[in-house]
C-alpha cells in the first residue's frame, strides 16, 4: 500500500459526496425557522443575525491578530477590556475588574505556575523600539 493510496481510497468517495451535498445545501439556502413571523420581521431578524455574526467573528479575529502581533498577555488585557466596555457595554468598574481577573488568571496559572513559553509579539519584533510591557507576562 503506497502512502498516498489509503487516504484516497477511504476518503475520496466521502469527499466527493461532501462536495455534492455542500453545493446542494448552498443552493437551497440556510436552515431557517419555519414558524411564524412576517416576512419583514424575518428579514429584519436575518439582518440582525448577520450583523451580529460579522461582529463576533471580527472580534475573534482581532483577538487572534492581537495574540500574534502583541502576544498573549497584552492581547488578553486589550481584548477583554475593549469587548466588555464597548461591545458588552458594561461599566468602567466592571470591565476593569473583570479584565484584571482575566489577566490574573492567565498570569498566575500559565506564566507563574506552568511556565509556558510565550513568544514576543510580532509587532515588537518588527519595531523593537515600541514599548512591549514585559511585566505583563
Amino acid at each position: 500500500m503506497s502512502a498516498g493510496l489509503f487516504p484516497w481510497v477511504i476518503a475520496g468517495p466521502g469527499l466527493i459526496l461532501a462536495v455534492i451535498l455542500l453545493v446542494r445545501d448552498l443552493k437551497s439556502g440556510t436552515k431557517g425557522d419555519q414558524s411564524g413571523p412576517s416576512p419583514e420581521a424575518e428579514a429584519a431578524t436575518m439582518r440582525l443575525e448577520l450583523q451580529r455574526t460579522v461582529n463576533i467573528l471580527a472580534w475573534i479575529f482581532c483577538f487572534f491578530l492581537g495574540i500574534w502581533l502583541l502576544r498573549f498577555s497584552v492581547a488578553i488585557v486589550l481584548f477583554t477590556f475593549l469587548y466588555l466596555k464597548f461591545q458588552s457595554k458594561d461599566s468602567w468598574w466592571l470591565s476593569l475588574l473583570l479584565t484584571g481577573f482575566a489577566w490574573a488568571f492567565f498570569y498566575g496559572l500559565f506564566v507563574r505556575i506552568l511556565h509556558l513559553p510565550f513568544s514576543e509579539g510580532q509587532l515588537f519584533l518588527w519595531f523593537p523600539w515600541l514599548p512591549s510591557l514585559p511585566w505583563l507576562g
Partner: protein, 496 residues
C-alpha cells in the same frame, strides 16, 4: 489475593496517603475543568513532587489527580461546549443542548453521577481482571485493534443526528485530516504543506476546541442570551433530576461503563474511542433516536460513564505489561518506575505488589466518590454561570479557547488551527452538518491505518480469519444494519 485487596484499602485510607490523594484531587479538579490543559501534562509536571513519597502515597496522589480529571472535564464540555479533556467530547453532543434548554443542573448531575458509577465499574474491572489480565491482553493483536477501531467507525452511523449521508461525509473529512503527517509505511510526509507544525499530524486539542468552542461563542453573541437560552420563563431543572436519571437508566450506564473499561484496556484506543462507542450505544438502544443531539440525557449518561470507566481499564495493560494504554498512562508508567514499581507479573502477584495495584483500585473508587460528592454540593452554584449575561462570558470563554489550545504544545500554530477549525465548525453548524463524526474520523483515522498496515504486513490476508476478528466483523455488520432493521420494525408495527 484477598489480603492484598484489603491491604490496598487500608493503605489508601491511612493518613499521609489519604491527604496526598485529596491534594491530587484538588489539582485534578482544576486541570480537568480547564480545556487544553490535559491530565497528562499535569501528571508530568507533578512528577518531581513524588520523589519523597512512598509508592502508595504517590499512587494516591497521581491517581487521585488523574481519575478526577475525567470526571470534571465533562463540566466544561456541558457548560461551554469546550471539552475539558479530549475524552469528554461526546458529552458535548447532548450535554450542551441540555444547558440551552435550561437543564444545566440535570446534565451536570447526570454526567457526574454516571462518571462515579463508571469509575467504580472501571475500578472493579481492574480488580477482577488481575488474575486473567495477561492472557486476556495477549489475545488482542494488531488485527483485533484494527477491527475494534472499525467497529468504532461503524458506530458513526448513530452520530449522524439527521442525515446519515452527511455523517459519512464528515467522517471522511475527519479521516482525511488524520492522514496529515508522516505515513508509517514510507515515512513520507503527506499533506503537510511544507509546515514543520504538521509533521506529526493535525493536533487534536486545538481542532476539537476550535471546532466546538468557536461556534458556541458565535452563537451566544448572535442570540444575545446567556448560556441557558431559556429566558426567565424556563425552569432550571436541578441536579437531583440528573442523579435520578442515572438511576433510571442504570442498565445503560452499566453497559457503557463495561464498554469503556474494555476499550480502555486496548492500548492506543482509550478515551477517544470509548466515549463515542458509548454514545453510539446509547443512541442505538433508545427507541426514539430523534431526541439525540438535542438534549437527551442518555447522551450524557453513556459517555459520562465510559470516559471514567476507561481509566480503570487503561491501568490494566499499563500495570501488567508496562504498555501504556494512552499518553497519560505513559507518564504514570514513568512515575511507577520512579517509585521502583516495575510493571509486569510482579504487579499482579499477591506475594509482591498486588496490594499496590489494589490501592490503585481503591483510589479510583474513593477519589471519585469524594470528588463527585463535593461537586454535587457546589453544582447549583456552578449552574448559575449559565444565567450570566452572555456578553460577559464571551471574552472569558474565548480566552479559554485560545489559551487551552496553546497550552497543548506551546505552538502558535495551534492558535491558527483554532481559527481554521473554528471557522469550519461554524460553517458546519450553519449548514447543519454533524461535527461528531468528523472528530471520530480524526481520532480513529491514523489508528485504523496503522493497525491495518501492521496487520497486512505481518499476516498477509490471514488476519481476517482470526477468531476475535471474525466476531468483530459480525458486530460491525450488526451495528451498520441495526438502524435499518429498527426502522423496518417500527414501520411494520405502524402497519399492524
Amino acid at each position: 489475593m484477598f489480603e492484598a485487596f484489603i491491604s490496598g484499602l487500608t493503605q489508601v485510607l491511612s493518613f499521609p496517603a489519604f491527604a496526598f490523594m485529596m491534594l491530587g484531587m484538588g489539582v485534578g479538579f482544576v486541570v480537568g475543568i480547564l480545556p487544553g490543559l490535559g491530565g497528562a501534562t499535569a501528571i508530568a509536571l507533578m512528577l518531581p513532587f513524588i520523589y519523597p513519597m512512598s509508592p502508595v502515597e504517590a499512587v494516591a496522589f497521581l491517581l487521585g489527580m488523574h481519575s478526577v480529571c475525567a470526571t470534571t472535564g465533562d463540566i466544561t464540555s456541558i457548560l461551554f461546549a469546550i471539552p475539558g479533556e479530549p475524552s469528554c467530547v461526546a458529552t458535548i453532543l447532548d450535554g450542551h443542548p441540555m444547558v440551552k434548554k435550561g437543564e444545566a443542573g440535570r446534565a451536570l448531575g447526570a454526567a457526574l453521577f454516571s462518571s462515579l458509577l463508571g469509575a467504580w465499574v472501571g475500578a472493579f474491572t481492574l480488580a477482577a481482571a488481575m488474575p486473567i489480565v495477561r492472557p486476556l491482553v495477549m489475545a488482542f493483536g494488531s488485527p483485533e485493534f484494527f477491527m475494534i477501531v472499525f467497529v468504532g467507525i461503524t458506530f458513526m452511523s448513530s452520530l449522524g443526528g439527521g442525515s446519515m449521508v452527511k455523517a459519512f461525509a464528515a467522517a471522511a473529512l475527519g479521516l482525511l485530516i488524520s492522514m496529515v503527517g508522516c505515513s508509517p509505511h514510507t515515512g513520507t510526509l503527506r499533506y503537510a504543506l511544507g509546515q514543520l507544525y504538521l509533521w506529526e499530524g493535525v493536533p487534536l486539542i486545538p481542532l476539537v476546541v476550535g471546532l466546538f468552542g468557536i461556534p458556541e461563542v458565535v452563537e451566544m453573541a448572535v442570540k444575545g442570551t446567556s448560556l441557558a437560552e431559556v429566558g426567565p420563563m424556563g425552569k432550571v431543572v436541578g441536579v437531583m433530576e440528573g442523579i435520578k436519571d442515572t438511576i433510571r437508566h442504570w442498565g445503560l450506564v452499566v453497559r457503557c461503563s463495561i464498554l469503556g473499561a474494555l476499550i480502555g484496556i486496548i492500548p492506543g484506543l482509550g478515551g477517544g474511542v470509548a466515549q463515542f462507542v458509548a454514545y453510539g450505544h446509547a443512541v442505538q438502544s433508545s427507541p426514539d433516536k430523534e431526541r439525540f443531539g438535542k438534549g437527551a440525557v442518555e447522551g450524557v449518561l453513556g459517555p459520562g460513564a465510559a470516559n471514567n470507566s476507561k481509566e480503570g481499564g487503561a491501568l490494566i495493560p499499563t500495570v501488567a505489561f508496562g504498555v501504556p494504554a494512552g499518553a497519560t498512562m505513559a507518564i504514570l508508567l514513568g512515575a511507577f518506575l520512579i517509585m521502583g514499581l516495575v510493571p509486569g507479573p510482579d504487579m499482579v502477584d499477591p506475594e509482591k505488589h498486588a496490594d499496590i495495584t489494589f490501592s490503585m483500585v481503591w483510589t479510583l473508587v474513593i477519589a471519585n466518590f469524594i470528588c463527585v460528592g463535593i461537586a454535587l454540593l457546589f453544582l447549583n452554584q456552578i449552574v448559575k454561570i449559565t444565567r450570566i449575561k452572555g456578553t460577559i462570558l464571551i471574552p472569558f470563554i474565548t480566552l479559554l479557547i485560545f489559551l487551552g489550545a496553546y497550552a497543548n504544545d506551546n505552538n502558535f500554530g495551534d492558535i491558527i488551527s483554532v481559527m481554521i477549525f473554528g471557522l469550519l465548525g461554524w460553517a458546519m453548524v450553519k449548514w447543519d452538518w454533524p461535527r461528531a463524526p468528523l472528530i471520530l474520523g480524526v481520532i480513529l483515522g491514523s489508528l485504523a491505518e496503522n493497525n491495518l498496515y501492521i496487520s497486512t504486513a505481518r499476516y498477509g490476508a490471514t488476519w481476517l480469519g482470526r477468531p476475535i476478528v471474525i466476531i468483530l466483523i459480525v458486530i460491525s455488520i450488526l451495528v451498520i444494519f441495526y438502524p435499518f432493521w429498527q426502522e423496518r420494525r417500527q414501520k411494520q408495527k405502524k402497519v399492524a
